[in-house]
Symmetry: C2
Subunit: 509 residues, 2 copies
């Protein structure tokens, strides 16, 4: 008898290029490539990497902007059975070198924009080999034919239990942790997403988020599994994104709130074409204003809650509930499990607790961090460190990071709630709330506020504004006006950095 | 570390009813039920079955027409962890009793139309218990609320490696074999189908094929996994099918050739609505005429090749290739493997050989038939007994059943090829070709022909017609005109029966 639970399956890009060789796979800049062409270029790069000694099981770092080189390198490393370590191009050389050392990288692949950075990383790790992948410009010069003839036997196989990548979490606190992601994690994530968002033959997914994060890389995997095209932007430009949606038949786009706000701001009152069927909004809770603006403009926003350790989406709001459950991240993906825990036991409906998740998309753990792994991963359940609740119908509302919770006088203050109120003030552009040590209350509520251009606001005014809208213990006692907020490469606000660098003499009230 | 290849997952209907309780699940006759309502009714039936002693691991036979009772019983048996044995209602009592004995059935569930037949089966197997499931008429009388409150923990789980059903193959030759189908077989089949045909939120699948065959039962599974509605017809009526497509937003319908011909014949020149996005055509090769008629009428026909032992589809023609590759069954599903073998080695492109398939949809084997299992299932590859070839682009063309092959004077004659020519004759309604023992050639080519109403035809005329179109050794030497052809419950022609009952005195020429 055979095992019915598959562990081996055909290598994805190879299979896809045999199934639908002529479908569009990648659109990047002026270039459009079919699956046959992508497969050919990947085979060619894989052969070159084999020539320089890349072997199955090696760890291969990628230091690249979004672009065709990134796509090729990702698939070539997968084809060779090596393990991908995608690096955040915005990190310092010291951080990059640390991640390469931690993950035991054998070779660093970089694009032409990262030649200097790659060199500096190598200066710190002399044993590290580097390879430039320069596929961005022009044609690869090869004829557009399949390198391999159609062949349904002797196909390469992949093992769903094998590690596909080590992705360092873009956590806002603590030392980065390398989450090990298996092929199975990515496969089940792609399937779970398709069962929720649907899977249309003519879909085209726009990737303007960094591909080095799990939210970007998982788009590359989904595209190949679904047989759809992915439009890749080197970086986020709201005008270019709007134009791609109008002119390139983009049906799905993955964004975070700040991107969506900028897309709407630059677009004005022009509506989006009906071909855009899903705006997948991740990266944390969105403001009610943004969601209402999107609803008013008929923009089909689907909020999602995901994390690196779950190979991206865990819960996603189904399109039919998008308006009725504004602000919710929806329900778990079909194969995923989700519960809310308070002091180790299941919370009741409406009760805030830690979001705990399980299922086939969950990483087997952090590389080289047995203690962190044992703490976060218990009996197959990942303790996310995020706070949320389920409403009476089972819809998830993400409240905050547990690490960001402010406890003032024994009361829980969720920064996100205070920030939402602050952002409602017409002069406030962005606001972040953290807890500062307070001799009397344990922690005090402190707000860093960026005001709008040409607006003016005093600390007293904003505190009065909050008093009218929040319980007393939630009202900030410390307000600071700032020009900029510290953010990580994914655009997430670095709360710990903000808290740790808070000036001791900042004006209270 | 957790296993990334999932083996346990949330029980499908329970999960679906929590995710999308208000979506339409089933439309049958005048009744429309949501997933919450279906879940409630299934829970209720499962409780009743528990009361009469049904337990996990028992084998529970279903003797039912298509209808709501069939849907409820299928899900209730799954929910209880029992094993389903769907029986063909058109079989004789002796055959039904044999299948019940062979599979060790503990209890027979039947609908009100099968009371007499169920009684007769019990007369032959006194230990067999029976239960009437009468959910066809009227409302179940319960309030339309969820029996179970939303709960994301403590959900029932299912094991993808567990046997979900034993389905007797509707083979046209030999004794029926009980193929064991696992939950994993059905899951991967549903996913493979979605990755090929797409998965739209508003899909609605019409089941007018018998639900007791794998092609029908797999629709029930896909509906729950995708969260779409299924329209169930008690039996095939071309006018009712056309009407459902027009009025009930049917997007996909599963049919065999003879059904499709009757749908077109009763419809006349009226075109089908664009909402019908896929006509999944199985059950053997279709005539070129039918495919051209469909193409002319813009009917989106997608040919498929499947079998019980593969939990339905193995290969399916992608919509974009439907016209370019008329007559092909397409390429394997994304997770499935397929090759053509000749004398145990891989055949070249264009060479006819046995179709051999592998992958996660393949049954672990036949119940109680270790020899048949060992012959058919070798190292995870299922030897289908069907003949076909792959063209230069890897598209599968199914030629015939290997068992049906006629070898005349050392030459291979594929009955399907001769039948296609016979059907091109304007007076021929249906034609079947078999091999009869021939002292000189080993086998002779014999044709049984049904002529059209009011048409006339002689054996000499049809033989002349074939001589002008076929190689000499393929031309029938024996022709017989018949009023009816023996068919099994699925509408497949019983070639062996035709051959074995061929009158010895039938006129040669």
């Amino acid at each position: 008898m055979t095992e019915s639970t598959a562990r081996l399956m055909p290598e994805w890009l190879g299979r896809r290029s045999r199934l639908t060789p002529d479908r569009i796979a990648v659109i990047v800049g002026e270039r459009t490539l079919t699956y046959a062409e992508l497969d050919r270029d990947v085979s060619s790069l894989a052969a070159s990497l084999t020539d320089v000694g890349v072997r199955s099981g090696q760890r291969i770092a990628l230091l690249m902007r979004n672009g065709y080189s990134f796509v090729l390198a990702t698939h070539a490393v997968m084809r060779l059975g090596a393990i991908l370590v995608p690096l955040n191009t915005r990190l310092t050389v010291a951080d990059l070198a640390w991640q390469c050392s931690d993950s035991g990288v054998d070779r660093l692949l970089h694009d032409s924009a990262q030649i200097a950075a790659a060199g500096e990383v190598c200066d710190r790790i002399p044993s590290l080999a580097t390879t430039l992948v320069a596929a961005e410009r022009g044609d690869s010069g090869q004829p557009p034919t399949l390198v391999r003839p159609v062949q349904w036997f002797g196909e390469d196989q992949l093992d769903l239990n094998a590690i596909q990548s080590i992705i360092y979490t873009s956590g806002t606190t603590g030392r980065p942790k390398g989450a090990m992601i298996t092929y199975g994690n990515l496969w089940w994530s792609a399937i779970g997403s398709a069962l929720n968002l649907g899977n249309h033959e003519n879909d085209r997914w726009l990737a303007c988020l960094p591909l080095f994060h799990v939210g970007g890389m998982s788009i590359l995997v989904r595209a190949v599994v679904y047989g759809i095209g992915v439009v890749i932007h080197e970086s986020f430009d709201p005008i270019a994104v709007n134009q791609a949606i109008d002119e390139q038949h983009v049906t799905i786009v993955s964004v975070v709130s700040v991107m969506l706000e900028r897309m709407l701001a630059t677009r004005g009152s022009r509506s989006y074409p009906p071909s855009l069927r899903c705006v997948l909004l991740g990266g944390g809770p969105a403001s009610a204003q943004l969601l209402f603006d999107c609803a008013a403009g008929n923009l089909p926003v689907v909020q999602t809650y995901g994390l690196t350790e779950a190979a991206s989406q865990v819960a996603t709001l189904a399109p039919e509930d998008a308006l009725r459950k504004l602000g919710s991240a929806g329900k778990p993906l079909f194969p995923s499990e989700l519960r809310i825990e308070r002091d180790g036991i299941a919370a009741g409906s409406g009760e805030v607790g830690e979001i705990v998740v399980a299922g086939p998309t969950i990483s087997p753990g952090y590389l080289n961090q047995p203690d962190e792994t044992a703490t976060a991963f218990q009996d197959g359940w990942l303790h996310t460190g995020d706070l949320g609740y389920l409403d009476g119908e089972g819809f998830l509302y993400v409240v905050d990071r547990r690490d960001d919770l402010v406890i003032s006088g024994g009361e829980n203050v969720y920064p996100a709630e205070v920030e939402r109120v602050l952002r409602e003030h017409p002069s406030v552009d962005e606001a972040v709330v953290v807890g500062l040590p307070d001799p009397r209350w344990g922690q005090g509520v402190a707000a860093a506020i960026q005001i709008k251009v040409e607006a003016s606001l005093t600390a007293a005014e904003i505190i009065d504004f909050c008093r009218a809208r929040l319980a007393g213990y939630k009202v900030p006692t410390t307000v600071r006006f700032v020009d900029d907020l510290p953010r990580n490469a994914a655009g997430k606000i670095l709360r710990r950095e903000l808290r740790d660098t808070w000036p001791v003499d900042s004006a209270a009230q």
